[in-house]
Amino acid sequence: MENLIALLVAAPLLGAAVLLCGGRRLDKTGHWLGTVLAAASFVIGVVLFADMLGKGAEDRALHQHLFSWIPVEGFQADIAFQLDQLSMTFVLLITGVGTLIHIYSIGYMEHDERRRRFFGYLNLFLAAMLILVIADNYLLLYVGWEGVGLASYLLIGFWQHKPSAATAAKKAFLVNRVGDVGLSIAIMLMFTTFGTFAFGPVLEATGDTSEGKLTAIGLMLLLAACGKSAQVPLQSWLGDAMEGPTPVSALIHAATMVTAGVYLIVRSGAIFNGAPDAQLVVAIVGAVTLIFGAIVGCAKDDIKKALAGSTMSQIGYMILAAGLGPIGYAFAIMHLVTHGFFKAGLFLGAGSVMHGMNDEVDMRKYGGLRKYMPVTFITFGLGYLAIIGFPGLSGFFSKDKIIEAAFAKGGTEGWIFGSVALLGAAITAFYMTRVMLMTFFGEKRWQPDAEGREPHPHESPKSMTVPMIVLAVGSVFAGGFFAIGDRFVNWLEPVTGYDHGHSPLSVATVTGATVVALVIGVAVAWGMYGRKPVPAVAPRGSLLTRAARRDLLQDDFNHVVLVRGGEHLTRSLVYVDHSLVDGVVNGTAASVGGLSGRLRKLQNGYARSYAVSMFGGAAVVIAATLLMRAV
């Protein structure tokens, strides 16, 4: 069985290699190849999963050691995989959703002449993401970590001829790199502390070292997570990442890659358990992002950007949960999975809408689309209900659990986190209702676009609708399936541990509060966008709204401080290098040159003046000899 694990990665990797090197002759069939290989990987995952279920809870973890990668004295890095329940969950999510989105893309990218390459990149992403989740040591995880970063870079910038896309891709990569610095420093710290960076030894040895060390490692890991999972303060790239094709937004920037940060933190649970301060910081970051993303989501008129804000905020939930320690780990992952379903579904829905509206993204130019694209409407609606946590749907269970856990954390921070989570739920309800209303309800607001093409909305082809339906089903039932009888918690328990704390409030109270929050949110949204028609041009809005439209001024800050500052720095350094450092060198050269130029004057070329110096020299010699004699 172990040997199958490598195949998980090998299949999509092969696909990527073939598709990217294959050249034009694969243009016709390439997308099928990619899809098939993704599906194959999914099948393997399922097989392994079945096998895993067959075993007892404790000995489910599989391990495969391929070969020694970097052996240098104490530093022993291996290419080795480890498949335990946590990894398994991710493998299924990644390959499953991944396959669906491959299928969806066949239709979505139909008219793009570079579709083959698109599928190549998708496969590359799958491979990297799988490496990330089944690596058995942090260095290999780092490989996957950067690999997904690369794939996301390539896919965000897939339409490279659009400068905005190219810039967005670059921005994403750079911000992620900042996070990666955190990860690499964390790994170095582990090496100097434990002498290794394989999950097993490190997580067992956490007890043997000081809390300070663990806190340092934890914070560095958090930095990495912030970069990858678009958490404050490194969240700025996610909004722009929506420049990429919509399937990419669905797969990478909603379902899988952005959740890698959560995986990292949950995986390193032992470290955070040993470092309460770091853990608290994690929770705070999660809480802040939760609200931040929600606010941004409320203000955006670009449907994808609104969803991006929502993603940010949902991941905020997960990070918050992960920051709660063993109480929250399982729920973080659970919300991650359900979120994977409904957010992917929502994005695909948005994609399908754009597909029908010749790539218009401004929700103010939508309206009343439910008649034109029923399937999209229904699936999107189900996703919507799920994310706002409509009782009975996935989101309800997972989010509710997190809120409970937040309260169960106990103490003042428990109260704070809990109420923040509640507030978040309300805002989520608000902005998602807003999206829903602006898109599918009200009267139609679309006009001819720049080329004067009158959009005539239509339902998307099967290849696109089927995945949406599947995801919709998932987003309806997954949560219930996981939550009933704590299936999911028990499943993950051997890996993450579980401790269900002592909530000051009864489960019923929390649930009630959640529902109330949800109702309030929906009601407010209905009041603002449901009853009166939506203006086709955005009103000026309050200060907060305008700030939120600009991602709460984060970008402006980055631009002024980092970009401008950096430009000035480099420009001045170039000057310094040329005039100062090089100036010294050239100055030396010049002075030598000048000196010799003066000496050259002595060589006037007149034989007689040479003779004089010769003769004078002779005289001096004689004088010298005589003096020698005299003395």
Binding site: N604, Y606, R608, S609, V612, F615, G616, A618, A619, I622, A623, L626, R629, A630
Partner: protein, 288 residues
């Protein structure tokens, strides 16, 4: 004076001779380096060398003394004179110094050097000297003695000097030999060239229409201007052409003046205007 004596001691006669001839030698040397014309320098150098020859003899180096006279004064100096001829006897180079400070440096160095040498010799202990008498007598005479050494001890050096002389001779020939760049003109070509050229008639003789008929004076053309064509090429190349046209014209003018005064003014003018090409030429020059 006999060999042994001459070699061994220094008689008062020698002293007198030294002081007189020494002065001559020094004067000769000075005039060599100070006279403007190289011919004069050469001659005074020859003088100095003769004096040195005498000193050799006085020092018992009979062979060298003779050789000095024959080779140096006889051969080398003559060679110098030939070259001077080639290069130009009268070409006197001005002693005005062109290089800045060169002269003072030179004099300073010369003085310093001389003083140093003399000082050196002075405080070197050279009081004792044993004459050549024995050495010369050993093989029965100076020449035999030298021959003995040359053909035994210094034979290789001698052979090499021979080689050196041969090389020098060949070298001199190579250096002075002028490579013909173009074929020598045949007489026919020369004549054709002459006919085609500017001067169909034979070149004018020097001194035509002139007061002088020296080789180095250009003849005057009818208008009174001198023509270099009348002077031989060598002199032209050396730039040794004396131009007397101006004084000739001046004389002519003065003559007219006087004749004008003697005759009446106006007919003097008439005379002047009527038949006097020279004055016409002069007027034309004035006009120019």
């Amino acid at each position: 004076m006999n060999v042994i004596a001459a070699a061994a001691t220094t008689s008062t006669g020698e002293a007198v001779q030294f002081w007189i001839l020494g002065t001559v030698a020094v004067i000769g040397a000075f005039s060599t380096i100070l006279l403007k014309k190289s011919v004069h320098s050469a001659l005074s150098l020859a003088g100095t060398m003769v004096v040195l020859a005498v000193f050799y003899l006085a020092n018992g180096a009979y062979f060298l003394g003779i050789v000095q006279i024959i080779v140096y004064t006889g051969a080398i100096m003559m060679l110098f004179l030939f070259v001077v001829m080639l290069v130009g006897v009268t070409a006197a180079d001005s002693l005005k110094e062109t290089l800045k400070g060169q002269r003072w440096l030179a004099v300073g160095c010369g003085l310093g050097f001389g003083i140093l040498l003399i000082g050196g010799i002075g405080n070197a202990s050279l009081s004792s000297f044993n004459g050549l008498g024995a050495a010369n007598a050993l093989h029965g005479g100076n020449v035999e003695g030298l021959a003995n050494l040359i053909f035994t001890k210094y034979v290789f050096a001698f052979e090499i000097t021979g080689a050196l002389l041969i090389t020098a001779t060949v070298g001199a020939m190579v250096l002075t030999h002028r490579e013909r760049t173009e074929r020598a003109k045949t007489q026919r070509e020369m004549s054709e060239e002459r006919v085609r050229g500017k001067h169909l008639p034979p070149l004018p003789a020097p001194g035509v229409y002139a007061r002088h008929n020296a080789v180095d004076i250009a003849g005057l053309l009818p208008d009174g201007t001198p023509s270099d064509l009348t002077v031989m090429k060598t002199l032209r190349d050396r730039g040794q052409i004396r131009d007397v046209s101006q004084e000739a014209l001046a004389d002519l003018k003065a003559l007219e003046q006087r004749s004008g005064e003697r005759l009446g003014r106006e007919d003097a003018d008439a005379v002047a205007r009527g038949a006097n090409p020279a004055s016409a030429a002069e007027n034309s020059e004035a006009a120019k």
